[in-house]
Symmetry: C2
Subunit: 364 residues, 2 copies
């Protein structure tokens, strides 16, 4: 595709600064290499197979997905796919088993019910599916609660025909504070992980894979003793929450939503055509739903479905109807999920277009 | 399509109870008839042309849309389309002017810049576009602030070639409290509207259309003096917020998201496969992000992207992995916007499927 001016794109539109993205990928690759960590990035953030391919080229050992659709889309470019989600129901299992035989599928799960259903589906399909026993290390969302249950589930995975016990996984999603303050929480995760690893080892079920990691804790992943794989999702893009935690600088955020000012009728405010159906509505402790790439002091202080309200109280800048701005949303994953496509940009030029293929639910 | 069991549908899936929807439509139609109000429902809620057609059959005088895509999709079934949104930028204007000539398009706007751009596009296309001057009656989002500016803009619309001045519009989106408490806020809206209508009348610019209305204020619309049209969006479906304001009973909510329990590892909680990418994350004063159709005391107390956490602390019900539930989200419009399709259901049977055609941004 020949580059063309960003000015010709209809707003709202999702933009990816390709130079920033590339730098972010290289930084994550270098970090994981330095610390000997496997890197299986969660592709729910971008949902774009071309970007998963780019992550694999940069050194990722596989990809992580959350839904059958994402597995189908990413299975076209990745040979190693971890479904970090318990698949429940005949339809989901059938779709997973229909993935290309080239794909080594593994699944994170936390119950005997899910394990039994998966084993049966795998046997019927004549496949072998890897199993990671999901542990709860403090998030209190999913994951087995005690070493005893983990051992029992791992034992069942190890003996079930159709399954291969590969290790454990967890998601420290409860650690969302700024990076500098994460020490005690990470130490607690290490401690809890240790009790699980000890019990599994003692039972002869030492996990080969100990998969964890998150974007907020990304650069401190090496502090979690025993973890040998991370699955951060946001690394290619980052977002306002990432900048808030300090996992990236504001100038490193590669994703934004291009929007147009449509009204300046209310004093102290400019309204843009990117609302909750483009940016998504997620709260952050610092307030607001996004901020401008070039003017981080200008915050989206309120959102309707198709209107974003820019607070002009901390700036002397006075935009006019028709002006265009780039907004960094609080949470990039849910904003991407609202887009049909992402536009690759370099400076003021559009250099490519990616369909958000993993969006939606139906089969590819 | 032959009816089939709901059990065979993969979750998460968006369901519409067709009997409840039909009752809701009839109730809205009866109310608007009784009070002599034009009814131009906002179709951003469902984004489905077949449902817009159903609203028109039930007595709607036209439809309201927010985006060029919605205008294109709804223009296929409606002859009267109000874009309740200022169109800014060449691409949007071009798409609007390319709508079928059968469509009578009108646009709400609040600035000379938007008016000038629209007039130019209309002249070039050889069309006449209706104009409603958008007023701010207390929401402080968009809309002209003073009667003087409204008169000036109406005068410009009345004299501009390509445009036809039709009246005024406003959206009382700031009135979100329970119905019984809305009296003073509605009186203030009436009072402010009166000052605008008086000035416009005195200037010989008496509006033919005075378009307002919202879902929370739906059944009190007749209390707003001078308003002769309403544009509620949620009437076919409603949601948890609607039930909270009292605009509908819990048993009248016609939209829900079917989900499957995927984990019960954490005590006092069941996790379902509908998260913020199916329900959308919007706060309500009552807390939580949704509640079960059949057990409104069971609330979705936390959301991840693909996980919804059901709080079991106020119920003795203990679901098991694989059980299915129906969740009413806080805000139906943003949940629908996350779906590929809506399933029409009656009892436990699926009787139809509607594609959410108005979703997304690109041309149809």
């Amino acid at each position: 595709m020949s580059p063309f001016s960003l000015d010709s794109i209809e707003t709202p539109a999702a933009l990816v600064d390709v130079d920033r993205m590339e730098a972010n990928l290289q930084k994550a690759a270098a970090y994981t290499r330095e610390h000997g960590l496997r890197w299986r990035p969660h592709t729910k953030t971008h949902k774009v197979p071309e970007l998963a391919a780019r992550q694999l080229e940069a050194g990722a050992t596989g990809v992580t997905v959350a839904t059958p659709r994402e597995a189908e889309v990413m299975g076209a470019v990745a040979e190693d796919v971890l479904l970090a989600y318990s698949p429940v129901g005949a339809s989901k299992l059938k779709r997973l088993m229909a993935l290309s035989r080239r794909v080594r599928l593994s699944v994170g799960l936390d119950s005997r019910e899910v394990l039994a259903g998966l084993a049966e589906a795998a046997r019927e399909a004549g496949r072998t599916v890897g199993v990671l026993v999901e542990l709860d290390l403090g998030m209190r969302r999913v994951g087995v609660q005690t070493p005893e249950v983990a051992v029992a589930l791992a034992r069942e995975a190890a003996s079930a025909q159709g399954l291969e016990y590969q290790g454990v996984m967890f998601y420290p999603g409860h650690i969302r504070m700024p990076m500098a303050e994460q020490g005690p929480a990470l130490a607690e995760v290490s401690r809890r992980l240790g009790t699980f690893l000890e019990a599994l080892g003692a039972a002869g079920l030492k996990p080969g894979i100990v998969s964890g990691g998150s974007t907020p804790t990304l650069w401190r992943s090496h502090e979690v003793a025993g973890m040998n794989e991370i699955r951060p999702g946001l690394t290619p893009f980052f977002d306002r929450a990432s900048a808030w935690t300090g996992v990236c600088g504001w100038e490193e955020v590669a994703y934004s939503v291009l929007a147009t000012v449509v009204s300046t009728s209310v004093a102290g405010q400019a309204v843009i055509d990117a609302g909750s159906k483009a940016l998504a509505k997620e709260e952050l402790p610092m307030g607001g739903y996004g901020a401008l790439v070039d003017r981080p002091d200008v915050v989206v202080h309120a959102l309707s479905e198709e209107h974003g309200m820019l607070d002009l109280s901390r700036t002397s800048w006075r935009p006019r109807v028709g002006d265009r701005v780039r907004v960094v949303p609080n949470h990039v994953c849910v904003s991407v999920n609202l887009q049909d496509e992402l536009w690759a940009v370099r400076g003021g030029q559009v250099t490519g277009r990616w369909e958000v293929m993993g969006r939606g639910r139906g089969p590819v």
